[in-house]
Subunit: 209 residues, 2 copies
């Protein structure tokens, strides 16, 4: 396996954390988004979609979405299970993973990419350029705050986001909750359940990578 | 199981098609989005997120995302397999499913919800109201056409979107490619590979439901 990573971006951090929780240490190559290396011919030959993370399997299949990387590693390295073992648990974990991606990850990305002067003309990841839409930055901030509130309410009487153990949903949630700092939204005592959960996940070795 | 469906919307159609391909016939209740029934107290008691599809399992778990419904049914009713059996196949199917959701499904939804006068103030699904952003409607149209082109190129030498058999990725792709008609983008002879694949999937009994 070869893992194409980027130390500064949230999407590759999700895969990095999943890989670490599985105890795996694949060959890793850094792709600097700051330097635009995702658009260099060498990387486009690996992933024409120009996104990280990308995991190339031993059979040469290039996996370019977090859900695909997680599903591959869960099936090929089942221990410890991070995506559930019963039909109900598998479904609950993927449901929360999808909610977090759509309602939090997308919202932060919209706020950042449409509001940051450094991302002018690059409002979406990938090979195509799109102009910024200022109203979308505003909407992203509102949705991020709304989802922080929902997650705080959801965590009132639970230790983890889905099922009763640490899963993929906690990885996705932790990485995006943490990344919201880039749009100046932070976890604090105003959302005590979210803070307790955040501090628990932040203490895991995989969260420090 | 109880399946909450809506005959006119693409997201519940994805679940409906998956259920039919599994040969299942759960108790089904129609939720009319046209009448706003997803916001009625009776349905919010089932799914506070106010979205269809929702599948309530026999243990009372309400699954509200297509990926969760699919994962639950694949694990509880493995035949015929629609989400792959090897690590590589599972990953490839989820990778294409995610790409289609993000790059096509989202794009069509943005074009429709931000451009249709009937959806004023309802630019996102769910319990919260958001104003339309006209620039997002334009971007959605561009992205839909781009992804139609990509899918046409991808299908040049293949019968199905992922692996060498019919899978969840074809269901998601078919439903969204078909739904693009609402923003006046249609499959035709200008994208012959896409058209051949579309006609093949459209001939399945599950596609007529």
């Amino acid at each position: 396996m070869i893992f194409y990573d980027c130390a500064t971006a949230p999407s590759p951090r999700r895969a990095r954390m999943f890989i670490a929780e599985k105890g795996l240490t694949p060959e890793t190559r850094e792709v600097s988004l700051a330097k635009g290396e995702q658009l260099a011919p060498e990387f486009l030959a690996v992933n024409p979609g120009a996104t990280v993370p990308t995991l190339v399997t031993d059979t040469g299949l290039a996996l370019t979405e977090n859900i695909a990387i997680a599903a591959y590693l869960e099936a090929s390295h089942p221990e410890p299970p991070l995506m559930g073992q019963t039909p109900e648990d598998k479904a609950e974990i993927l449901m929360w993973n999808a909610r977090i991606e759509q309602q939090l990850g997308m919202a932060i990305a919209e706020a950042l990419r449409n509001g940051n002067p450094h991302m002018k003309g690059r409002a979406l990841p990938g090979p195509d350029d799109f102009e910024q839409i200022p109203a979308l930055a505003e909407r992203g901030l509102s949705r991020t705050r709304l989802f922080f509130d929902r997650l705080d309410a959801h965590l009132a009487n639970r230790d983890y986001i889905a099922t009763d153990r640490f899963t993929l949903a906690d990885i996705t949630g932790f990485v995006f909750v943490d990344f919201a700092r880039v749009v100046k939204i932070r976890v604090d005592d105003t959302r005590p359940n979210l803070k307790r959960w955040y501090d628990t996940i932040a203490a895991r070795p995989s969260a420090t990578l």
